[in-house]
């Protein structure tokens, strides 16, 4: 405990340096904007701002980028409550009761509870991250190539399962992602693979053009020609204070949402989205008056909003402790660390304590900044929603080009972004989820390296994956995941993932 406090002191002395504090504040501010504006998710926001961090030291860069991530979770609730449009996918559930409360004239308290819940959940989950990541990293030092390979397979399959939609389609996306990730020079033999004479492809296809193309460009193409200008309810500052009853009713959902969100966040998948669905379902089930849900129950805002913030923090546990991203957003954060020459993995916390503890402390500070930003300044953020989409999308397109080009000053990256944009657009039309593909691209080099090293260790025997206990545990969990995915084929009726996909689709239309 003494060591943790000492490290935390180091973290705060790093995070409170004026420069780091400034970048933390900017991250929170941009994150809130990214969350408020529909169509610009945290993934696109982080990817686009990645090049601007190249001139910064790694600690400032990761503080800025992760600020965007958790800041977006705060901002996303604003549009959900005031317009019934989720600014960010993790705020879909907040639309239901948040907007109902706004229609009853309780938009202010809904926003306040959402911000307070996000603050409590964000802070509590930072404590969880702080306590869990270092021992997990220590344990992960026992992992060899077979364990890493099994863990990565498990991570990819869990993501495939949790993404929603048919598992077969998600598996194809994972395999495609892994194949895309193998383009470029093979680090073992020096062979060029699938690069067709293009030297620029030697380093492979980067995560940023893939992520911006699949999520940013395809979103612009899908929503092209729409003229969205819904009515915006503008709350007054004096109406923000929740009543004593609203506060009392929200406390337990905030607690449950924080715990659920953090635990779900550690699991691979779009955890920040899934956690809100589960939190909403839990709150409805434990409520003495479930009939109030959908008509303006404050618990329906408090639970999911706390859960998505806690989940975004939980997702950083495997990323920082194991070097394994659990979704596209941690993957881009990891890529940002690698751009700055930091090797992710179990040694990160030990070798780079300033980065790890600086990030932890900046998240404590950031959550407080976000509470201040999201309550009194909500009226200002709401004004951004008045920008018509026909002005917004060319601006986003321009930012996509800048963001992708600037990573390597490479026009080939911009071509990759466009190709991925077209691919993402077609994939959406044919009901394929692009998220597993992004993770496949990121993990491909580690998957291949651990696979080939494991086989070299065992003189070509695949039995090595089932002879080592930790690897067996991961493979058994993988098998369970496959069985769960096959369940709908045997048992008729929709499982929770299909319902989740349906709600997402309904919200999109």
């Amino acid at each position: 405990m003494g060591e943790t406090l000492q490290n935390l002191y180091l973290g705060f002395s790093t995070a409170l340096i004026p420069m780091n504090f400034f970048y933390g504040f900017m991250g929170c501010l941009v994150g809130t904007l990214v969350g408020v504006l529909p169509g610009v998710g945290p993934l696109a926001g982080i990817s686009l701002l990645l090049p601007t961090t190249f001139g910064l030291n790694p600690t400032s860069a990761i503080i800025l980028l992760s600020g965007i991530y958790y800041g977006a979770m705060y901002g996303g609730s604003t549009t959900s409550i005031l317009m019934r449009i989720p600014g960010e996918a993790a705020s879909v559930m907040t639309c239901i009761d948040g907007y109902a409360l706004a229609q009853k004239g309780r938009a202010g308290p809904a926003l306040a509870i959402s911000a307070i819940g996000s603050y409590i959940a964000g802070t509590a989950s930072v404590i969880g991250l702080m306590l869990l990541a270092p021992p997990l990293a220590k344990y992960a030092l026992r992992f060899g190539p077979p364990e890493y390979f099994s863990l990565l397979v498990l991570g990819l399959l869990v993501l495939g399962y949790m993404t929603g939609g048919p598992m077969v389609k998600n598996l194809t996306m994972i395999v495609l992602g892994l194949l895309f990730g193998m383009i470029g020079i093979d680090h073992f033999s020096g062979y060029f693979r699938f690069s067709y004479g293009l030297v620029a492809l030697g380093d492979g296809i980067g995560i940023v053009p893939v992520a911006v193309g699949l999520f940013g460009i395809s979103e612009i193409l899908t929503t092209a020609g729409q003229s969205i200008r819904p009515e915006v309810i503008k709350p007054r500052l004096k109406d923000l204070l929740p009543s004593k009853k609203e506060l009392r009713d929200s406390m337990a959902p905030i607690g449950r949402g924080s715990l659920l969100g953090f635990l779900i966040g550690i699991i691979p998948g779009s955890a920040h989205i899934i956690s809100t669905f589960i939190s909403y379902a839990v709150e409805r089930r434990v409520s003495k008056h479930p009939e109030r849900f959908g008509k303006g129950a404050i618990e329906g805002v408090a639970g999911p909003e706390s859960a998505n913030n806690a989940a975004s923090c939980g997702a950083l546990v495997p990323m920082l402790a194991l070097g394994v991203p659990t979704g596209p957003i941690p993957a881009v954060l990891l890529a940002a660390l690698m751009v700055h020459g930091i090797n992710p993995g179990p040694m990160l916390i030990k070798e780079q304590p300033v980065i790890f503890w600086g990030l932890i402390a900046s998240m404590y500070v950031g959550n407080f900044i976000l509470l201040l930003l999201n309550l009194p300044l909500v009226g200002i953020f709401v004004n951004f929603l008045r920008v018509p989409y026909k002005i917004l999308y060319p601006t986003i397109l321009m930012l996509c080009v800048v963001g992708v080009y600037a990573v390597n000053s490479s026009i080939v990256d911009v071509w990759i972004m466009i190709v991925m944009g077209i691919l993402g657009y077609v994939l959406r039309k044919y009901d394929f989820e692009p998220a597993p593909m992004v993770l496949g691209v990121v993990l491909a080099p580690i998957v291949e390296m651990s696979f080939r090293q494991a086989l070299a260790m065992s003189a070509g025997s695949y039995m090595i994956f089932v002879q080592r206990p930790i690897s067996v545990v991961f493979l058994v969990a993988t098998l369970v995941m496959i069985i769960l995915a096959l369940k709908p084929l045997v048992k008729k009726g929709k499982d929770w993932r299909e319902r989740f996909t349906k709600v997402e689709k309904d919200e999109e239309t």
Partner: protein
């Protein structure tokens, strides 16, 4: 033909294509896998998944049910993006973005001329100032110095 069956056929063809492309790479042995080993394994797995989609995809909706109502608009945006990529390094960032913005705001969205002018100039030159000048992100200048 259903959506899933069409997807399955495309994935199967893609898998076969990858397998053919892998032939030029050394496979290595089980104990020392070469650069073609895992791509071949993965493309075989992709082929299996493609076949599963073809077999189980008979109940999915028809591929004709996919709506492309925004298709023309999307195609125009894509054309603008391709133009941007082709000219970014020759015309320079500012001039290319100015043309792209005028095209999107003026031709595609038919905004008023003064809005097209102010938004296009503001965004192309403003973003250059913000990213290149202020944030030191190097953006291309092109032959004309823009």
């Amino acid at each position: 033909m259903t959506k899933d069956r069409l997807s399955g056929i495309i994935l199967l063809l893609l898998a076969v294509f990858v397998m053919i492309e892998t032939r030029v790479l050394p496979l290595g042995t089980h104990s020392r896998p070469g650069p073609g080993y895992l791509p071949l394994l993965l493309s075989s797995f992709l082929a299996i998944l493609g076949v599963i989609l073809i077999v189980w995809g008979r109940l999915a909706s028809s591929w004709r049910s996919v709506k492309w109502s925004e298709g023309l608009h999307a195609l125009a945006i894509l054309a603008g993006s391709v133009f941007t990529t082709l000219t970014l390094e020759t015309l320079g960032y500012r001039l290319t973005m100015l043309i792209l913005m005028v095209f999107l705001f003026g031709v595609m969205e038919r905004l008023k001329w003064w809005m097209v002018f102010s938004l296009s100039v503001g965004l192309s030159f403003g973003s250059f100032w913000l990213f290149d000048t202020m944030l030191k992100v190097i953006l291309p200048r092109g032959g004309l110095g823009f």
